[in-house]
């Protein structure tokens, strides 16, 4: 009998009886309450918008610059991965070589995830022109494959890139120091595999200029086979440089390759080839993280403050609501919904501005002006493309959503201790 | 000829309320002599509060001349008006008279501090005034710790402690019960009689009117009777 009565009662009666109201009404009331103090709502929402804007822009640029740094650094010389003799990385001497070079190269070119592969042999040698000489690294490369794994061939300023089997590709600074020009002959002399003298004659056919004087004056590239025969290396190579579609895949691909390699060989991803790059990124990420945490914590505190003031001012009103039968929980819910609305307004503004800016800049990239020194030293690319991803765009809004909820909830919980009679007596 | 403490000639004040002009004061001529206790009476919207406000320099008339203790109010800038109020006029409002964060004594000293009177003299005069009004024991209380009547009496103490030429009281009894109103009015009357304080009040409380030496009735912004 009683059950039937309740079932037939109009739906609105049930919530009314328990002293709470439907979510739709809550929403409407909260939204209107929010705009009772426009100035405060705008200020607080602006604070939210401001910090979301800063976090999104900083994160996008930060992560975008990492990708750029990795691409630039790995693209210069090291590649995404390298297969080397297991001791070569720590002790790069001629004897630490992979013997069956061309066979391994063919296998690696077919390996899953590998987009390009190029072999190298390296030896330190004395480079002489006439009676002048200079110590430097002679790098034997495959003129066809090498351009697919490194940018050095694109830094050409004069001549051609290794057109013949006795061509040399030399840094402009080295050429200046030795008084070299295109067409000049250079004599290279070093220690061969079995302790004998390695010697070879090359013709300068191309000059490069990377902007890094150290590199330009100490490295030269020549065809692979010439170095192999001069140093008695036969078919051996020192490195096989590998490229993946994306630098971020390198670690996974390297793990897949490891079991397929000959015993004396091992594969290193760029993480291990350029440990300072990974650590620089980590250090930068940590300092960025500190700034984000501070920014978001401070905005959360300012939202908390805003709601502390709101709750304080409306003590009388809340007393009245409780007096007419609203449950304190309902009031808490109303305040929390107000906080959500506040978050939504601030986020909408901050996100609208920062998202459109980042998506726009992400497409065209931003040149780094006036930082060429730093760019060279810290392996920075010339343009940064801000990274546009769920992570860079979404983190700040989501963290602030949680922050705003807590910031609204804490002052709101004080309402539960409110005694209606005292609240009504409170001076407005 | 006696010097009028307040003299108004042809004073008009019009408000624009939703584009409809509201004539709060129409061409009012009015004067208060030294030592008078004048009550402005009339219903809400009659213009009595507006008249009190323009005399106190809180509001400016659209037309007409007002002098207070010989000074032409129209000729004064905002800061000079503030100085006029500070030095020549004492105010008692209907509520919210006192600075909540200051004690009774500090409230009474407040205007003297603005005037730059030194601390020792301030203390003596504030305590002396509170004492003469029978509120010595309230000196250290803050407004929140006093009743409405006590607060109004402290406000009066503050208003008269600097010996202003004119005491303006806007609905001083609005928030008080009959008994307290009586005590307050006795106090005002005593100040008027014993110290010769010139008092101008605006009120619609008949009890206040009864204590005044002269009643001025306003209706629709005009003086209808004296």
């Amino acid at each position: 009998m009683a059950a039937a009565d309740i079932a037939q009662a109009p739906p609105v009666a049930a919530p009314a009886a328990t002293g709470s109201v439907g979510i739709g009404l809550h929403m409407r009331v909260a939204w209107r309450n929010l705009w009772r103090n426009r100035r405060r709502t705008w200020l607080t929402a602006s604070g939210i918008a401001f910090s979301i804007f800063l976090c999104v822009v900083f994160m996008s640029f930060q992560l975008g610059s990492y990708d750029g740094m990795i691409d630039t650094a790995t693209g210069m010389m090291s590649g995404h991965m390298q297969v080397q003799h297991e001791d070569y990385f720590d002790d790069p001497k001629v004897a630490n070589r992979i013997v069956a070079g061309s066979e391994l190269l063919r296998e690696l070119e077919e390996a899953p995830g590998v987009v390009a592969a190029a072999p190298r042999v390296e030896g330190f040698a004395l480079v002489s022109v006439g009676e002048r000489s200079f110590g430097g690294l002679v790098m034997g490369v495959d003129p066809v494959r090498e351009p697919e794994v490194s940018a050095l061939s694109k830094q050409i300023v004069e001549g051609e890139y290794l057109p013949r089997t006795d061509s040399a590709y030399v840094g402009k600074a080295l050429a200046t120091n030795l008084g070299l020009k295109i067409g000049d002959e250079i004599f290279v002399m070093g220690s061969a595999l079995e302790g004998g003298v390695a010697a070879a004659l090359f013709t300068v056919d191309g000059l490069f200029d990377t902007g890094q004087v150290e590199l330009d004056r100490s490295i030269m590239q020549v065809p692979l086979s010439a170095v192999q025969s001069a140093f008695d290396l036969g078919d051996s190579v020192h490195r096989i440089v590998l490229m993946a579609e994306n630098a971020n895949d390198a670690t996974a691909i390297a793990q897949g390759l490891a079991p397929t390699l000959p015993d004396e060989a091992r594969v290193l991803d760029w993480d291990k080839l350029l440990p300072e790059l990974r650590q620089m990124i980590q250090m930068d990420a940590v300092s960025g993280l500190i700034i984000y945490v501070l920014l978001l914590a401070i905005v959360t505190l300012s939202v908390a403050n805003s709601f502390t003031m709101t709750v304080f001012e409306r003590t009388r009103e809340f007393g009245m609501l409780i007096a007419i039968g609203m449950r304190p929980g309902g009031i808490v819910a109303m305040i929390v919904i107000e906080a959500l609305c506040m978050w939504a307004v601030g986020t909408a503004i901050g996100a609208a501005i920062s998202y459109s800016l980042m998506i726009g800049l992400g497409a065209v990239g931003v040149p780094i002006a006036g930082l060429e020194d730093m760019a060279g030293q810290f392996m920075m690319p010339e343009r940064i493309h801000p990274e546009v991803s769920f992570f860079t765009l979404g983190t700040a809004p989501v963290v602030l959503l949680v922050g705003t909820l807590v910031a609204g909830l804490i002052p709101a919980l004080r309402v539960r201790r409110l005694k209606p009679v005292e609240a009504l007596r409170e001076e407005e | 000829m006696t010097q009028h403490v307040v003299e108004c000639q042809g004073v008009s004040r019009t408000y624009q309320d939703d584009a409809v002009p509201v004539h709060a004061l129409r061409d009012v001529d009015f004067a208060v002599d030294s030592g008078e206790f004048v009550s402005l009476a009339g219903p809400s919207g009659s213009g009595k509060s507006t008249l009190l406000h323009v005399i106190g320099g809180l509001d400016r008339p659209n037309a007409g001349a007002i002098t207070v203790d010989g000074e032409d109010i129209n000729a004064l800038g905002d800061s000079e008006l503030a100085d006029l109020r500070l030095n020549k006029i004492g105010f008692v409002f209907q509520a919210y008279n006192l600075i909540p964060v200051l004690s009774a004594q500090e409230n009474v000293e407040f205007i003297m501090q603005l005037q730059g009177i030194d601390a020792a003299e301030r203390g003596d005069r504030a305590l002396g005034t509170l004492d003469s009004l029978g509120m010595r024991d309230l000196a250290d209380r803050r407004p929140g710790e006093m009743s409405g009547g006590q607060q109004q009496r402290v406000a009066i103490a503050r208003a008269i402690v600097t010996n202003p030429v004119l005491l303006l009281a806007d609905e001083p009894s609005a928030n008080l019960d009959t008994g307290t109103t009586g005590e307050l009015l006795e106090l005002l009357k005593r100040l008027n009689k014993e110290r010769g304080v010139t008092i101008l009040t605006a009120t619609h409380d008949p009890m206040v009117m009864g204590y005044a030496s002269r009643q001025v009735h306003l209706r629709d912004g005009e003086i209808v009777s004296e």
Binding site: G47, L126, R132, G135, V213, M374, Q377 | -
Partner: protein, 403 residues
Amino acid sequence: MPLKLLLQLSWRNLWRHRRRNGIMVLAIALAVTGVMLMNTLMRGMAAEMREAAIDNLTGHIKVIHPGYMADPGIGRGFEPEQGWEQALADVPVAGWAQRVRVPAVIMSERETRGVQLVGVDPAQETISFLGSLSVDGEALSGAEDRRIIVGATLAEQLETSVGRRLVIMTQGADGLNREAGYRIAGTYDADSNALEKVFVFTGAQTVARLLESPAVTEVSLRLESDDDIPLALAELGAVFEDLDVKAWQDLEPQVASMVLVADFGLYIMYFVIMGALVFGLVNALVTAVMERVRELGMLRALGMRPRSVVAQVVVESTLVMTAGVVAGLALAVVCYLPFSGGIDLSAFSETMQMMGVRNIFTPRLEVADMVIVFVLSLVLGVLASLYPARRAVKVTPLDAMRR
């Protein structure tokens, strides 16, 4: 309005809303602490990079031949006149050293490497890392010492050890190769492997004999302070007319730009984080003004001048700011003290070495930066109060009456 009254009113008003103002003070303190701690890290890093750069044979000032940077070699050497240092009588100089530094090829029985051969007078090298080096074996005894000191890492690569001989080959002024064998007196351990691989030291006279030239390639000076650099540059410029006299900032532009970044970083971080804070501060101040409309109107009616009303809001804002900043700075100092002796950063060692920073990293909390943050905060406190103060001035006595 007397200042004392102003402060008294503002102070008591702040205590009326403890919770609200407490949150503001907490937020400001948090922001200031965060900014200061980041700053101590950046300052520490910049300072170490700078020290390392100066230590690594650069000094505060170096005199070189204008062509040496592009073509380092004895061909770009010079002979300083005897007694040139007299010119610096009025500059506090910590020390100076004359060196011959040329690129060379070093060969053991098994390996060949490219290095920088540096001829030094060990007595002068108190100004560089060489002076404080830990050497396994024996150190160089003087400018005439005919033995060499090599880095431990290089010795390993060359598969050689103390007491054995190495052949060094380099170019003379005529462009012809010179070659000689030298015994290893000792191996050294530097903070960075890169240094160990690059520098091979021997007596200055020994290099002169090998190169058949009395010339040096650089004169390096260490001063008592960075502030003396301009004066020293000017005086040295007059002595070494045809040579380049360069400060470390020009010789190590990357390090100099890092130091600059640390300088600017303080301001950038400060304004980013305080920018977010200002919204909350303005909010609290405006609320405080709006709550007090009746009180402010009454004060105006009593004869308080508009500028006193402005002053009151400004003072309240500044007080909150000051409380927050003082708390934040104090917290920063408390957090800093346990680490003031240094933090072990061996986990980041490669980067640190690359940037020229040692493994034990010493953060630096500089009083000057604390003063900057304090002053900036006071300015910001005043700026944040302008809008609320304008609102407060707009309150007329009539607004108060009408309520």
